[in-house]
């Protein structure tokens, strides 16, 4: 007997993980860039 599975569960899980990981990576890249450039600018002022 074949197991009945709701395909939308798998689609939703894929999109949640894929989109979530992409957005988290974009946010991390922007945040680390801002912090590093701020640190560089502060080192110029000293």
């Amino acid at each position: 007997m074949r197991e009945a599975m709701d395909p939308w569960t798998f689609v939703a899980a894929s999109y949640a993980i894929g989109v979530g990981a992409t957005l988290a990576m974009v946010a991390w890249a922007l945040l680390t860039m801002r912090r590093a450039e701020k640190r560089r600018d502060e080192s110029r002022k000293r």
């Binding site: 599975m5 689609v11 890249a29 860039m33 590093a36 560089r40």
Partner: protein, 243 residues
């Protein structure tokens, strides 16, 4: 290419190119995924689960493209000692690893309803998992080989070139060996796919590629800024010791 060897010139370009790539990429990827989920038809055999393809295929492409970026930057570093090459390689590593991981997870979620299993140890899946481990190894080696002045990049560059042998293995694995995974649907200039699936898939690939480019540029800016701040603080410390 040596025209971009000057970090100041690179930064002038990256300052407007990075937000442009990221902004356009996010919009195009969001529209493509919305199209894939809401408007594209279900597939005759796979049904609704085919919608996972609009995430899985761009992630697979960018996982491999990330390593090819590392390999190209490594070659440039070893041959021409381009000052931005090692920075570009380091910037490709995290987005490449993230997209490889997304490819593996979404592939597993697609495999369960399509094949009846989360995982099989066949050529395609195993070589993609090896790629993820190569990324981890490369990042660890790159971190460990950074000398105090940030100039020791030869070991990760050699690893980056040697690891590139895995990329054609991933690509041809479904042709060389029996696999649960289907053979490539899109080859140079040809597609076995209907336009209903192909157009949103290509749009998603363009969108995610632009996001990848934006993240790489942001990482390069961050690494450059860190190196500049370190160099300045070191110079200051030396000058204080001298006087």
């Amino acid at each position: 290419m040596h025209g971009f060897a000057n970090p100041a010139r690179f930064l002038r370009i990256a300052r407007w190119l990075m937000p442009l790539c990221m902004g356009v990429g996010l919009v195009v990827a969001a529209l493509a995924l919305g199209w894939g989920v809401l408007l594209a038809p279900a597939e005759r055999l796979q049904g609704e689960t085919v919608r996972i393809m609009y995430l899985h295929v761009p992630a697979a492409w960018l996982g491999m493209a990330g390593w090819m970026g590392i390999a190209a930057a490594s070659f440039t570093e070893l041959v021409w000692r381009h000052p931005l090459a090692a920075i570009a390689a380091r910037a490709c590593a995290v987005p490449g690893a993230v997209f490889t991981a997304v490819c593996l997870v979404t592939g597993s979620l697609w495999g369960r309803p399509a094949w009846g299993t989360w995982w099989v140890w066949d050529g395609r899946l195993t070589s993609m998992l090896v790629l993820l481990f190569l990324y981890f190894g490369w990042m660890a080696l790159s971190q460990a080989s950074q000398s105090s002045d940030g100039t020791e990049n030869r070991a990760p560059a050699i690893f980056g070139l040697v690891g590139a042998v895995n990329v054609p293995i991933i690509h041809y694995s479904v042709i060389w060996w029996n696999s649960q995974h289907q053979p490539p649907s899109i080859t140079m200039g040809k597609s076995a796919m209907s336009g209903d699936f192909l157009v949103p898939l290509l749009a998603a690939m363009v969108g995610f590629t632009l996001i990848f480019a934006g993240v790489v540029l942001a990482r390069m800016r961050a690494i450059l800024a860190d190196q500049q701040a370190e160099a300045r603080l070191r110079r200051k410390a030396f000058s204080e010791v001298e006087f």
